[in-house]
Amino acid sequence: MATVDVRSPDVVIRGRKVVGGVTEGEALVTREAISGWGGVNALKGEIIETHHELRGQSFAGKILVFPGAKGSSGWSVAFHTSRLAGKAPIGLLFNVMTTKAALGAVVLRVPSMTDFDTDPLEAIETGDWVRIDADSESVFVWKGGRP
């Protein structure tokens, strides 16, 4: 993470570490819970669920900001497979802790957080630049893209 910040973040959110580490990138935000198996195409890193607002969009290389996980117990396998395919998200921020989301984050091995003091779904929009410092349990947000 050699990025030199040209300006300080617009928003700082505190939360709890799910998986440690530091990452930064573009946010992909949804207000709808995400299904893993059957809801994503792991090999393409793409949401495929019929009624989902992100249907057809790719989370590969993005910081995925979502309320929580739903659906099949194959959630972790779907995201684990996306890691093998090189199509995984690079960080996860989610509000509702479930076994699906926790295990998925663990096997994705990407910095992940939950239990926030500010709702990331309110503070972060798709396209915002986000840095997750899970080790210090902080999320930094630059509105509108890379600073």
Binding site: A33, G38, T50, A69, G74, T99
Partner: protein
């Protein structure tokens, strides 16, 4: 948060029971800490999909040998190195798999894929894991009891275990179940704990819900309403049966993320609405009336346009012996239309019962195929050229059209079998 480990668990983590158990503990500790769990519970009832994988996953781990051992280590245990996996000593079961062990050609599987399937199954059996090959372990030899700590995958089985039986399991994943088979531990979080099992939202059921079709519709509505919370259903729910709970739970788990529900006076931890909530009703209050029932039906049927049905799929979750008998009754003396196909899925154990009882024969004589181990969604296998499918399962209607890019209809078992025999969808909400 650092988990509190017993001396035995520390020793397991540090390798006292071998490298595989140490890797399993490492994964389970990372997982427990992610959840925020304080400690582990002991479990000796574990259902997952240990080590089974398509060929390309094995090839991905070619440097580690590209075999079952490599996949179990690297993928299932999420280990950075391959280790020897010992024989499992506890009660571990393999859930659904990728193809039918006999009709795999009909499912479009290659010789190579079948050989891979057979090799995996030999490994599973050789590791002391019970080959149930079903999403309904409770119909095939693994019915938990009240209060039993389990580590199960398969959302439809998880919700049944918690809600109908009073067993205790979270919706585990492949990596946590495979690890738990070695370590006999899962994080003491969620449904293992009393306080987590109380109702969160109330659903007033105002239309009569009695048939399996109506239970399935209500389930799909429930998941959409409460998402991943625990609903308490009260009102006009009648004629409970295992297969109705099976369809209700599968639907609620796919439209939302329901892992436990209470039905007042019906499920074991809900002798009353108050008991289900652990006090006064709280959370949101939803009504399931004629309007909601209609809307749920229309939502499930929003992905069908053509009424020429190529494919009817029954057996999601896997059919029970009584459902196979019902399908046989509806099929007897009829034949599947030349433009359509009927595949019915069940477990090997239940198929054996259906063979003995004659329903398997009637199903086959009608031109339908009775398949085990898998389903169209899991195996991504449908008859060649399928464009329009029909289902009696809200869960399969939710998943298969999205996965396969086809149209789908949802209706009663009778409507589905009529569609298979006429090639036309004539379902309607009465």
């Amino acid at each position: 948060m650092t988990m509190r480990l017993t001396d035995e668990e520390k020793a397991m983590r540090d390798g006292a029971q071998g490298a595989a158990v140490a890797k399993a503990m490492d994964l389970l500790i990372r997982y427990g800490e992610a959840l925020g769990a304080e400690d582990f519970v002991y479990t000796d009832n574990i259902a997952g999909v240990p080590g089974s994988s398509p060929k390309w996953i094995k090839d991905y781990y070619a440097e580690d040998g590209g075999d079952y051992r490599a996949v179990f280590s690297r993928f299932d245990l999420d280990s950075d190195e391959a280790v020897d996996v010992p024989r499992i000593s506890g009660f571990a079961c393999h859930l659904q798999g990728g193809m039918d062990p006999e009709l795999w050609r009909d499912q479009g599987m290659s010789e190579e894929a079948f050989a891979n399937f057979q090799a995996d199954e030999r490994e599973v059996a050789g590791h002391g894991i019970q080959v149930l090959k079903t999403c309904t372990p409770y119909l095939a030899g693994n019915m938990p009891v009240m209060g039993e700590h389990c580590a199960w995958m398969e959302s439809s089985a998880v919700v049944l275990c918690n809600s109908v039986v009073g067993g205790r399991t979270n919706c585990e994943g492949r990596e946590s179940t495979s690890s738990a088979m070695l370590a006999k531990r899962v994080p003491n979080w969620g449904f293992h704990r009393d306080e987590f099992r109380k109702g969160q939202h109330l659903i007033d059921v105002e239309v009569p819900v009695d048939s399996i079709f109506e239970w399935g519709l209500l389930g799909y509505f429930t998941g959409g309403a409460v998402e991943d919370a625990i609903p308490v259903l009260d009102g006009a729910i009648a004629d409970p049966a295992l297969i109705k709970h099976k369809h209700f739970g599968a639907a609620a788990a796919s439209s939302g993320g329901v892992e436990m529900y209470h039905m007042a006076g019906i499920t074991p931890e809900a002798p009353s609405v108050e008991a289900a909530f652990g006090g006064a009703a709280r959370g949101e209050r939803f009504t399931y009336g004629p309007k909601e029932r209609q809307a749920t039906y229309e939502r499930l049927n929003s992905i069908g346009e053509s009424r020429d049905v190529d494919y009817v799929m029954l057996g999601c979750p896997h059919y029970s012996a009584d459902q196979l008998a019902e399908a046989a009754r509806l099929l007897e003396g009829r034949t599947v239309h030349e433009n359509s196909n009927l595949w019915i899925f069940t477990s090997r154990a239940v198929k054996a019962t259906a063979e003995a009882s004659g329903s398997a024969d009637i199903i086959r004589k009608a031109g339908a195929k009775l398949m085990t181990d898998t389903c169209s969604a899991i195996s991504q296998a449908v008859p060649p050229g399928t464009r329009v499918a029909a289902f009696d399962s809200a869960k399969q209607t939710h998943y298969l059209p999205a996965i396969m890019g086809i149209e789908g209809w949802f209706g009663t078992t009778q409507e589905c079998i009529d569609a298979a025999c006429t090639g036309r969808w004539n379902g309607r909400l009465n």
